[in-house]
Amino acid sequence: MSRHFPAILFLLPLFAAISMPVVCLRHRHWSRPISLAVLSSMVVLSILNLNSIITHGEVRYAFSGWSAPLGIEWVADGLASMILVTLSFLGLLALVFAGPTSPKDLGGRIVHYYTLILLLISALTGIVFAGDLFNLFVFLEVAAIASYALIGVAGGRALFAAFRYLVLGTLGASLYLLGVSYFYAASGTLNMADMAEKLPHLLNSKAVVGGLLFMFIGLGIKMALVPFHAWLPDAYTYAPESISPILASLVTKVALVGWVRIIFWVLGAKVIVNDIPVLLLVGILGTLAAVIGAVLALNQRDIKAMFAYGGISHIGIILIGVSQGNQTGFVGGVFYLLNDAVMQAALFFLAGMAICQYGARTVEDVGRIGKQAPWFTGVLIIVAMGMIGLPPTGGFFGKWYIILGALEANNYIAVAAVLLSTLLTLAYFVRLFEAIFRQTPLPSDRLPSDIPFAYKLSLGATSAAVIMLGVFSDPIVQLLLNHALPPGL
């Protein structure tokens, strides 16, 4: 049974999504309980899956019984299973959070709304598990199409942001597909493991060099790496409050996982293409992203935009970690990725709560509500500790291992970039806290004090996870070291 887990984990949300319009034809309000049930069972299954991967080793699931180079393969190794536990956990919380925050005027479209959320989750699962480059493309596109529609649901400015994302995202997907077709032309295969065997002889071929460039730019757009990040802040800022946590915590991170797969599992860790070490290039891009993203975050007034730029800078920190070319850095990067997914979800839960509950969008508004909203300020302090990287939280240990890895590789620029981006992160959170603790609320600002249970649950669970990831960082890092390392690192 346990060997079917990877397939079931993907098929469950997919089939639930597509059969939703039929099942909820007469009973539109069933869509939310069904989605919650699907995501809860995904959480259970993904934990069972991780457990069985740890005890029995990785699973390669050949759909229809056609084995690897010919058929379509799902690769459930340690990395994919760890990411999937995070993904389904955050997906469930985001769905809980979506209850009170969904746009009110959806009407009959509520069924389609939950359909799209489940489709997005299943596509992200597909990206994590995909064992060949072409299916990675297919699921990138499914995830992207679902996100365009979900961002545009609110109408108004969100439509423009969604259209801009659509144009750039389609460009990214097309470039990625072009890169995959170059690789296919050069090597004659699409399966990752098969290609990893054939590529070392082909590294000087123009097709591979060009294809790699296209793939990198394509996935770079998808994960909002710094020169290609223009679509992200607007899309996340104007997306409905119920959707931006899923987008911010999962979509870009999972595209990054796809990139990590291609670099480490297809190309190989120490690969040098056309005299350029790929990891060095990734490291430079990561350094730029880490610093520039944080600087841009410092300039924002809108809290959602501020958190969105913070996410861009953290993508850079993860890339710095994985690009150090040693085990410590790689594990640090992946561990930071898990942390960052949780922290981004928590930040956008906070922003969504501030907007829906208190009508606060900017830093000044937050200052006005801060003292009267204990849940908001309390969780903000915990998550800010994680984002800045203070000891009891997972963010600290992630950055710690990344810096250790960079020191091991004698890469002092990377160390400086991580520290600089930490300082800048501190700076923009200090702006928030200064607004909260220095303003005295006006007597007219009486706030609604009853907070829906959904907010408490999603905020409580994510802030607990931020701390738990720090407290249990040692076993998690050991797990990553034993089960999630790429070959040859």
């Binding site: 597509i18 699931y61 229809s64 019984g65």
Partner: protein, 150 residues
């Protein structure tokens, strides 16, 4: 809103052509095992025949009722597909490994044949529904809204 076409030639030809197109669609669907064809193409042809009847007879005509009814079937095809895949898993094989299709009293060859036909029917239903719903959503938004709300 699509009104009936007022030309008698178009109407009579439509009356004659639509069943032929549907039979051809079914042929392509079931012939897919042995030659060119299959669920996607068959579904497109079936969907086209329904779109044609809507375009010719207008979407209030009794001939177009099937096209309006089928909009509710969005996802039925996927359920068929999932059912076949699930039966293969229950039989102990991988998802869609038809050799393990858990239907008693069948040879392996018959299982493979039946499995692929059933999945292709599922694919055809969804493709046809999608084609029809694209035309409806481009032509008359209120139909979709009505069918969702009622």
């Amino acid at each position: 809103m699509i009104r009936p076409h007022d030309s008698i030639i178009v109407q009579s030809l439509g009356r004659f052509l639509i069943p032929v197109i549907q039979i051809f669609g079914l042929y392509v669907l079931f012939f897919g095992q042995y030659g060119p064809g299959g669920g996607f193409v068959g579904g497109v042809i079936l969907g086209t025949s329904m779109i044609l009847s809507v375009l010719i007879f207008g979407h209030d005509a009794s001939r177009s009722q099937i096209a309006k009814k089928i909009l509710h079937g969005d996802g039925v095809g996927m359920l068929i597909y999932a059912g076949v895949g699930g039966l293969c898993m229950i039989g102990g094989g991988e998802f869609l490994n038809y050799a393990e299709l858990d239907i008693p009293g069948l040879e392996t060859a018959a299982r493979r044949s039946l499995g692929i036909v059933l999945t292709q029917i599922g694919v055809a239903v969804d493709v046809a529904v999608t084609a029809v719903s694209i035309v409806f959503s481009l032509s008359a938004e209120e139909i979709i809204e009505d069918s969702l709300n009622g």
